[in-house]
Symmetry: C2
Subunit: 101 residues, 2 copies
């Protein structure tokens, strides 16, 4: 990075513990069986969980996901890759939340 | 990559030549002085030009950009980084084109 990491607050926490203790907030997870992110209702507050590129979000954490989001293919309905690089997927998810602000 | 590069058609071309010869198509460039991408009108066809992370789009190519697009800060109006990693910026731009399909 060009130093941008210095602007990010990084915390190492037990994710299951964090989500359980803040169960009043919605938990968004990027999952293949999710709702089209462009059409989903996105609130101002909540958690976004991104999974491991190969294995996805772990079973334990998936149970805590309240809203499943799916990044649709481009072109629409084309046979493309099943998954995106997790950084790119995170960028798209964050961008979509940002757009609704 | 997990082999996804095999799904992408890569061409090495003279960019100035390509854009000049296809001047009927709009050329979108990600630039700091551009229009908010979330509010801009985006067509189905055109070129998207992404610049060098440090130097941006070269002067020669900027002259051929017909539509300047800007990815706004998150949170809105916050003082954040001037530029994004080019892969992330490209993902956000492509996602926004895809959303309008």
């Amino acid at each position: 990075t060009m130093g941008a990491i210095a602007r990010v607050n990084v915390h190492y926490v037990d994710l299951k513990d964090l989500l359980t203790k803040n169960s009043s907030l919605p938990v968004f997870g990027a999952l293949l069986e999710g709702e089209n992110i462009y059409e989903a209702k996105l609130p101002k507050n909540g958690f976004i969980v991104m999974g491991n590129e190969g294995k996805g979000i772990s079973h334990d954490i998936q149970k805590l996901v309240t809203h499943k989001l799916f990044i649709p293919n481009y072109p629409a309905n084309a046979q493309t890759s099943e998954s995106l690089n997790v950084a790119l997927a995170a960028a798209i998810v964050c961008s979509e939340f940002r757009r609704r602000v």
